[in-house]
């Protein structure tokens, strides 16, 4: 398992252009091959918001721990940082050229565009699993729809995006509302 973790986070690190959320979709895709569920991934996303530090580091710690305990979390965290330790010292000589390098910049633009679709898609899958009880759109006819959870997602999105409400407050609020609905 440790070896699989190392391999997974090497892929995530070296293909992880464009920041934390782009990496998250890779972590979900590669993690689900090792058995990471969409619920566990959704909870990871919550913890990323609640816990300080870069998303990729937080995620590696979490996934590593779920699969292989303390050792797994240490290994995954170090592995996801490895590209930096390898690439920066080798690239530092070319610092003047990197920013103007057309190949790197076009790749970054292209991967960021892909990331928009990937992140949005993972969001939809999270909603499907959570509020519809299915794992992709092909199963739409088996859906058991939970309107309450859909409303939370939409209201949360508006409060977060339009009114810039702190995500930590939103998370706590959603938790309290969910807890209360059990008793209604």
């Amino acid at each position: 398992m440790i070896l699989k973790l190392i391999l997974m986070f090497l892929k995530v690190g070296f293909l992880g252009f464009g920041g934390g959320y782009a990496m998250l979709t890779l972590i979900y895709a590669e993690g689900s091959k090792l058995g990471l569920t969409i619920d566990q991934f959704a909870d990871l996303n919550v913890l990323d918001v609640l816990i300080p530090g870069p998303i990729a580091i937080n995620s590696a710690t979490y996934v590593g721990y779920l699969f292989a305990g303390l050792l797994g979390s240490v290994v995954a965290t170090i592995t996801v940082s490895t590209p930096s330790f390898v690439l920066i010292p080798t690239m530092i000589r070319f610092e003047d050229k990197i920013k103007e390098n057309r190949y790197l910049n076009e790749t970054l633009q292209s991967v960021k565009a892909a990331a928009v679709g990937l992140i949005g898609g993972v969001g939809v899958i999270m909603v499907l699993e959570n509020a519809f009880g299915i794992s992709n759109l092909k199963e739409i006819f088996d859906a058991k729809i939970n309107i309450f959870l859909i409303i939370i997602t939409i209201v949360g999105w508006i409060l977060h995006d339009k009114y810039k409400i702190n995500p930590i407050l939103l998370t706590i609020g959603a938790g309290i509302i969910g807890y209360i609905t059990f008793y209604i």
Binding site: G19, I125, L137
Partner: protein, 196 residues
């Protein structure tokens, strides 16, 4: 002899500063990325004057261009510039450490949490709100990056592949890299052609 000692002291002094700056920045910024850059700039450039502002922003830009965790790229870059390899490792480890420790504690607690009854309902609601954060992250990146037709098509293609479970993220990112390289190759040819 004295001079030698002074240099050694100042080197370890620099490492201590790097440790302090990156540890505290990582501890007090959430989700990393751009929020970190402005705090780091204030500490490294304005407060401790370890680096010129122009250089710092240059390194910050390069850190975003290369693959890897942006915050760690930045720590490696700035650390290496200020204090060689020891600075690089100190800065990177200091940025990793708080994120690792707090996430480990949170994960252990999360794994212990019973997931039934009212807690299950609370978790479902929290998962619903986390989808909201994901959507707004996608929207933010879209606003800044979807400027050409090919990029918009790329985003739609990846979205469709993901929701229908057709292709994995890894394959899609490899496709995106190839298309990016191809676009660069084509525009380069054009530039060369125009000059000739």
């Amino acid at each position: 002899m004295d001079k030698q000692q002074e240099i050694i002291l100042s080197r370890s002094g620099k490492n201590w500063l790097l440790f302090k700056i990156y540890f505290l920045t990582s501890l007090f910024t959430f989700t990393g990325g751009l929020a970190m850059i402005s705090v780091l700039k204030r500490e490294i450039v304005d407060k401790y004057k370890l680096m010129e502002e122009k250089d710092f922003y240059n390194y910050a830009a390069i850190s975003q261009t290369l693959p890897g965790v942006i915050a760690i790229n930045n720590a490696c870059f700035v650390g290496k510039k200020i204090n060689g390899y020891s600075g690089m490792f100190i800065a990177a480890l200091s940025a990793i450490l708080p994120a690792f420790i707090f996430m480990l504690i949170a994960t252990v607690l999360y794994a212990l949490l019973p997931k039934d009854g009212p807690i299950y309902f609370a978790l479902s609601a929290i998962r619903a709100i986390s989808a909201a954060f994901i959507f707004s992250a996608a929207l933010t990146i879209a606003k800044h990056n979807l400027k050409s037709i090919i990029n918009i098509l790329m985003a739609i293609f990846c979205f469709a592949c993901t929701i229908f479970g057709l292709l994995g993220a890894l394959e899609l990112i490899v496709i995106a890299v190839v298309i990016g390289l191809y676009t660069a190759f084509r525009t380069r040819k054009k530039v060369v052609g125009d000059n000739a």
